[in-house]
């Protein structure tokens, strides 16, 4: 069974935000508008975060694209009181929108602030509404529940269906999330971390590889390759 993981090469990322936009179109995250965004209400399953290090004149901005880290030891799941968030056999962490009671405990427990809450009923301007992804798996979430990056789980299903229709076995390379597919700088890699021949496995073991807040023991399945 594959263990899905991602590697992001910070040398190649130039913060164009294509991943952020692709994710929004693929996953139907609502438009919060400038007002609500300023109030910290925007829903961005993937974000490119600027970490400013040092002080003038020696300033360095470290840009980190941040999807859900898909922790192997996920604090978000430990705290959920109703099992509304869970890990699939292939290591992807999902939210059951029909089960979630909106207590936001998981959002508080996730050290990466990856989980987003639906403060209002989701909205889109008319022009965007016409282009919502019709896939039932990403239909707009109801008000009052938590949502987050799923590694585009609907694409995994589709890839499996496609392989089956074509009468060939499904392979790990059949499936990529939208952010990986779209990445302008080819900075993102995706695949089966358990397969020693896969690119992600090899990159994850490179000396440049590190993970965010590794000391917390969450064991993320998203690796970064150091800049420089």
């Amino acid at each position: 069974m594959p263990r899905w993981g991602m590697v992001i090469d910070l040398d190649k990322c130039f913060a164009c935000q294509s991943c952020t936009v692709a994710c929004r179109m693929e996953n139907n995250t609502p438009v919060a508008g400038p007002d609500q965004t300023a109030r910290g209400r925007a829903i961005l399953w993937n974000e490119v975060l600027p970490f400013i290090e040092g002080e003038y004149p020696k300033v360095h901005v470290q840009l980190i694209p941040r999807p859900c880290q898909m922790c192997d030891n996920p604090p978000c799941i430990h705290v959920c009181p109703v099992k509304a968030t869970y890990k699939t056999d292939e290591g992807i962490i999902l939210v059951d929108y029909k089960r979630c009671i909106g207590c936001r405990f998981c959002a508080v427990a996730c050290p990466y602030q990856v989980r987003y809450f639906n403060w209002y009923v989701p909205e889109w301007p008319a022009a965007l509404k016409a282009h919502l992804n019709p896939d039932p798996e990403v239909q707009p979430r109801p008000r009052g529940v938590i949502e987050k990056c799923t590694f585009c789980i609907q694409r995994l299903r589709k890839a499996r269906e496609k392989a089956e229709a074509e009468g060939r076995p499904f392979t790990a390379t059949d499936y990529v999330p939208a952010c990986v597919q779209t990445c302008t700088g080819h900075a993102r890699y995706f695949g089966d971390l358990d397969d020693p021949n896969s690119l992600v496995h090899q990159l994850a073991h490179s000396p440049r590889a590190f993970r965010l807040l590794e000391e917390m023991g969450t064991q993320p399945k998203v690796y970064y390759l150091k800049q420089g």
Partner: protein
């Protein structure tokens, strides 16, 4: 009971407010009711539009409502724990104030549970907690312990009320029918026989002992919804005991506040006396000292280290945007109690009331400054966030306090605020002791050692 019963002084004063209601009382009820109504409107709006009406945001997912939750659960320790400890240690002076304490517990718990519900994004799914509850989640520990505590403190409030209920059944013959019915049903056929007394005392002592560990567990698990996460300054072993101490501290303050109000309004000055204020005042001081000690341990340990994420939160509290809150908290919880209560002359109803209001505010701030600052500065954050509660949150807090007071006052319009039979028992005990001493002094009684 015989019909020619002449009401004792105690009975007359305690039952008086149950018979006659002043205009002022209804005025207060109307004001409180109005505030509760405002809260209902605000809550209705929150439920129809979403939690967007609050000041919450990413990453400050918890704010005023969760602070209120911890606060109310905290003051619920007033009662049960204090009255149980005093009962177990057989402190005689507890007798006139146990009922008030136990009622605070009961209503504070209901309000506490309500806060959790207000905080949910999907209030319609609240029952999922019972259908699909996962015991690995600290939130479910809370649900379990609070439910258990609510059940046991209901019993603990009810049991010592039975003899008084029977008295009401027999004495309040001119009360409206529905009230007489309530008294009759709740008195559960009590007629004061020796056997009934024996069983009741037994039940009360078992509950008193049982309720202490439950109460401690409740506040510990409340702290663990924070302590079990890895957020800076939450992930600390001190949180459990710190919360328990804070809970008892704020509980005593609440007891002071309500005791003083009931004493004034119900004219119970002759029964709730200087002694209660004196002893309880000392207890409050002790808790204040404990609280200060825990606060110091927590802040110094964090501040001395160089763990950047932790220190960042600490700095937010002592010199950042939370500094005014922090100073207010230290003033209310440490300086004010010691300034006023340290001298016996300060431990008067007025002094105690002022301190108690201060401590109640200070402890609310303590909850708030534990919850909010940590969330504004999580470990991985590109920018700090700022949380400003909105009118809805403030309004619902005020409405919750109003509802708490409303329930409390109405309850004591229906039931006596002082446990009449226990005070009478206390008087009898005191009288018997005095008589025995008298006889002993006159040499008419042989002092004997109790046989083991």
């Amino acid at each position: 009971m015989d019909r020619t019963h002449r009401e004792s002084d105690l009975e007359r004063t305690v039952l008086g407010p149950l018979r006659k209601t002043s205009m002022q009382f209804w005025l207060v009820i109307a004001v409180l009711g109005g505030l509760v109504l405002m809260g209902a409107v605000l809550l209705g709006r929150q439920w129809t539009t979403g939690l967007g009406v609050t000041g919450l945001k990413r990453p400050i997912y918890w704010g005023v409502y969760i602070s209120n939750f911890v606060f109310f659960i905290g003051i619920s320790h007033a009662g049960t724990l204090i009255s149980a400890i005093l009962r177990v240690t057989q402190a005689e002076w507890r007798r006139p104030i146990t009922r008030i304490a136990e009622a605070i517990t009961f209503f504070a718990l209901i309000l506490g549970a309500l806060q959790l519900w207000i905080d949910l994004g999907r209030p319609d799914r609240i029952l999922f907690l019972f259908f699909f509850g996962r015991f690995q989640s600290p939130l479910l520990w809370d649900v379990t312990c609070v439910t258990l505590y609510l059940l046991s403190s209901t019993l603990y409030l009810y049991l010592p009320m039975i003899p008084d209920l029977a008295r009401l059944r027999d004495r309040m013959t001119d009360a409206p029918r529905w009230r007489r019915r309530i008294y009759t049903v709740m008195a559960a056929g009590w007629h004061g026989s020796h056997e009934q007394h024996r069983r009741l005392e037994r039940g009360i002592s078992i509950m008193a002992v049982l309720i202490i560990p439950i109460a401690v567990s409740v506040h510990t698990v409340v702290s663990w919804i924070f302590g079990m996460t890895m957020q800076p300054m939450w992930h600390s072993t001190i949180l459990g005991p710190y919360f328990v101490v804070g809970a008892i501290f704020s509980g005593i303050a609440m007891l002071f506040i309500f005791m003083t109000i009931v004493r004034r309004a119900w004219h119970l000055e002759r029964w709730i006396k200087a002694k209660q204020y004196d002893y309880l005042g000392i207890l409050l001081l002790v808790m204040s000292a404990f609280w200060g000690y825990f606060t110091l341990s927590e802040y110094l340990t964090t501040g001395y280290s160089s763990l950047i994420n932790e220190v960042q939160v600490l700095l937010a509290k002592i010199q950042g945007e939370y500094a005014p809150w922090f100073c207010a908290m230290v003033f209310c919880n440490l300086i004010l109690p010691f300034a006023i209560l340290i001298r016996r002359k300060g431990r008067t109803p007025t002094g105690a009331f002022i301190v108690a209001v201060g401590v109640a505010i200070g402890m609310w701030i303590e909850r708030y400054t534990i919850i909010a600052p940590s969330l504004t500065r999580p470990a991985l954050m590109a920018r700090f966030a700022i949380y400003t509660p909105t009118f809805t949150e403030v309004g619902l807090t005020i409405a919750s306090l109003a509802l708490f007071a409303l329930l409390f006052l109405l309850f004591f319009k229906l039931f006596p605020a002082i446990s009449v039979w226990e005070v009478e028992e206390g008087q009898a005990v005191a009288a018997a002791r005095q008589k025995a001493e008298e006889l002993l002094r006159q040499g008419q009684l042989e002092p004997t050692l109790p046989t083991p």
